[in-house]
Amino acid sequence: MTNDSTHATSAEVTAIDSQARGPLCVLLASGLAWLVISGVLGVITSIQLHTPGFLADCSFLTFGRAQALRETSFLYGWIANSGLAVALWVLGRLGGSPLRVLNWAVAGALFWNLGLTIGLIGIGTGDMTSFGFFQLPRYVQPLMLIAYGAIALPGVLAWSGRRTSGLYASQWYGVAALFLFPWLFSAAQIVLLWAPLRGTLQAVAAGWYTQSLWSLWLAPLALTGAYYIVPKVAGRSMPSYDFSSLGFWTLVVIGGWTGGRHLVGGPVPAWIATMAVVACSMMLFHYIVVALNLRIASHGSGTAIRFIRFGLVAYSLTGLLDALSSFRGVAVEWQFTLLATALEQLGLYGGISMMIFGGIYYMVPRLTGRPWASGALTSGHRVLVSLGVVLLIVTLAVGGWTQGDELLNPKLGVGTIYTQLKLSLMIGTAANVALLAANLFLLVNFIRSAVVCCGTSAAAESAFRQPAALEAHAS
């Protein structure tokens, strides 16, 4: 099944799109390849959770290492490549002129993925850093920092050289994501890897990095696409747009202060956790503004908007549950359980990834000038990935809920509690298999669409029109 938003009539393909086609396709292809790789690792780790002996004898894939590999390839492979592709494209369109220095983005993407590959081999052979979301070995991090700068450069230039006078919400989010990641990545490198802080201060700094990565990079990357696409597909102007800047600054200013969310009751100063409780609650304002602005997503039709709609619901839920779970009374039960994993997946898969999927479904036909190669693969991906995400999160949450409850009862041994989790964990494996299959569909569909386009690129090139004014006003 395909419909309007996944098709682009040739009139919609602009010079901005056709010139960016090759470089952005490189980013997207790498992103989707990493998504499939992290999907394979996701299946492996989920099997290991209920069958501890699975691949345990393979030192590259102990549960801890496989988990780090899965997380790293998901964040720095899938979200980074695809999220940046969508952000660059949106910034180019809103800047009103074709993206410049795209060669830098291609070179950056190659080095970024090279660094990531070396990093993953490093994790497999025992060089991981053991900080959540920050597992990449020390020796590849500087390379990745430089590569990131190269990828981001066209986006920054498109923004600084924009022809339009104002700035739109998607531009704030896009520029914030491009600009802030190098700062937080390097700040974390300094205090965790090059001149490590003492003792548990490392955990505080790692917590700051994890939460900042969420609120200053992952969320802005996803919202860049959502703020651009939703009003276009829904065909309406954005309600409560005046609030959107307040929502943006709440995310940026408060986001980093939620760093102590996972350290409640830990061996760190108590104010760290208290600050996180306050910050998580204040962040609700951001989530409410995003929900208010983008509530028009309920109107449009098409694959892209359906993904974004799913993503927005999951994103808002993440905000709400983050705030709830930061309270000490709730954290005592939820902390250290699968509920924390469920919440993380809700944000990363249900929220961020679904919005990026939406962005990809909207963007690719406009880059290639043709509809997606296969409608069946498109709808297959949508159905399977939605089912997989819901199933994964629900089973993890149900399992985590019982686990948290039972962990409070000292009469039940940890082994017994774990044994009782097995059913949930097995359903979790089924969900991971569904996700892997779904993402394979997307990869195949993307490759077919991109290959067809390359064969006939000249024809598509001739089909653009003068676009700037039309493209720039909708966000």
């Binding site: 959770l49 501890p52 002996g53 345990a56 004898d57 393979c58 102990t62 549960f63 801890g64 290492r65 988990q67 025992g126 991981m128 053991s130 923004w159 104002g166 700035l167 704030w172 520029v175 914030a176 600009f179 802030l180 700062w183 937080l184 700040a187 205090v191 802080l197 003492r198 003792g199 548990t200 490392q202 505080v204 700051w208 900042s212 200053l216 800047s245 600054w249 940026v252 200013v253 980093g256 202060w257 996972h262 009751g265 830990g266 061996p267 760190v268 100063p269 108590a270 600050m275 009374g329 005592v332 250290f336 962990l407 409070l408 009862n409 000292p410 940890v414 082994g415 774990y418 044994t419």
Partner: protein, 234 residues
């Protein structure tokens, strides 16, 4: 937000504030935490870990053990950590000052290991740990790659594992822990937080006579106060 420069300055200020507040703030508070010298015992705590154990912590980190095991005991009235025998007191920042890479962990699929070697009435010994690592159990993977199976030439190794049943090897062969397994076990056996620091003394049990003893608030209030006192001391 039409001025791009001010926009970027705003972004930078936002990230600098949270980094300064959280990272530098805690560093200013706890960065110079020193070991605690006990006059009666005549030595400082926490004691430095041996070289073998320090190397073992690197093995613990690179295998990703923290994916299932935490190393942080929460205070007695917060969760069931104390009742499970994971530690008589809460973990405090001073416990970790000698550790190059504290492994606090974020998931309790397996038990907490903060005080593994100080468990009462009996803690696991080296042989138990080696067997768990080699044979595994229904809930723990077996990491056979940490061991070497070799033919016995002459006398059998003093370190050889005595395993029977599932993990048994053919006659004339023995299982010897590799160097990594030895350092890992040395590290696990060094995990002991028996010493009470002034800031970690268990809270006085709530008065049983108090009319509202069942209410969480009555427990929480003294807890919060003592936390504040500890902070003031630091």
């Amino acid at each position: 937000m039409k001025n791009g420069f001010i926009f970027l300055v705003g972004l930078f200020a936002a990230i600098a504030m949270s980094w300064g507040g959280i990272v530098l703030g805690t560093h200013a508070q706890l960065g110079s935490l020193t070991p605690y010298y006990d006059d009666t015992e005549g030595k400082s705590f926490p004691e430095r870990t041996t070289g073998l154990a320090a190397r073992g912590q690197l093995v613990y980190a690179d295998l990703g053990c923290a994916a299932c095991h935490t190393q942080q005991v929460r205070r007695p009235d917060y969760g069931s950590d104390q009742a499970r025998g994971w530690g008589d007191r809460q973990s405090v920042a001073r416990d970790y000052i000698h550790q190059a890479r504290p492994q606090l962990g974020a998931s309790r699929i397996g038990p907490d290991l903060t005080n593994l070697a100080g468990r009462k009435p009996s803690a696991m010994d080296s042989e138990d740990l080696m067997k768990l690592l080699y044979v595994g159990s229904g809930t723990h993977p077996s990491y056979k790659f940490l061991f070497v199976e070799k033919q016995i030439v002459g006398e059998s190794s003093a370190r050889a594992l005595r395993v029977s049943g599932a993990g048994a090897v053919a006659a004339g062969h023995e299982i010897v822990p590799s160097e990594r397994a030895q350092t890992l076990v040395a590290y696990l056996l060094s995990l002991n937080t028996a010493y009470d620091y002034p800031e970690s003394r268990p809270l006085p049990p709530p008065a049983k006579a108090a009319p509202a003893a069942g209410h969480a608030e009555t427990h929480a209030a003294p807890a919060a106060k003592s936390e504040m006192k500890q902070e003031a001391k630091k």
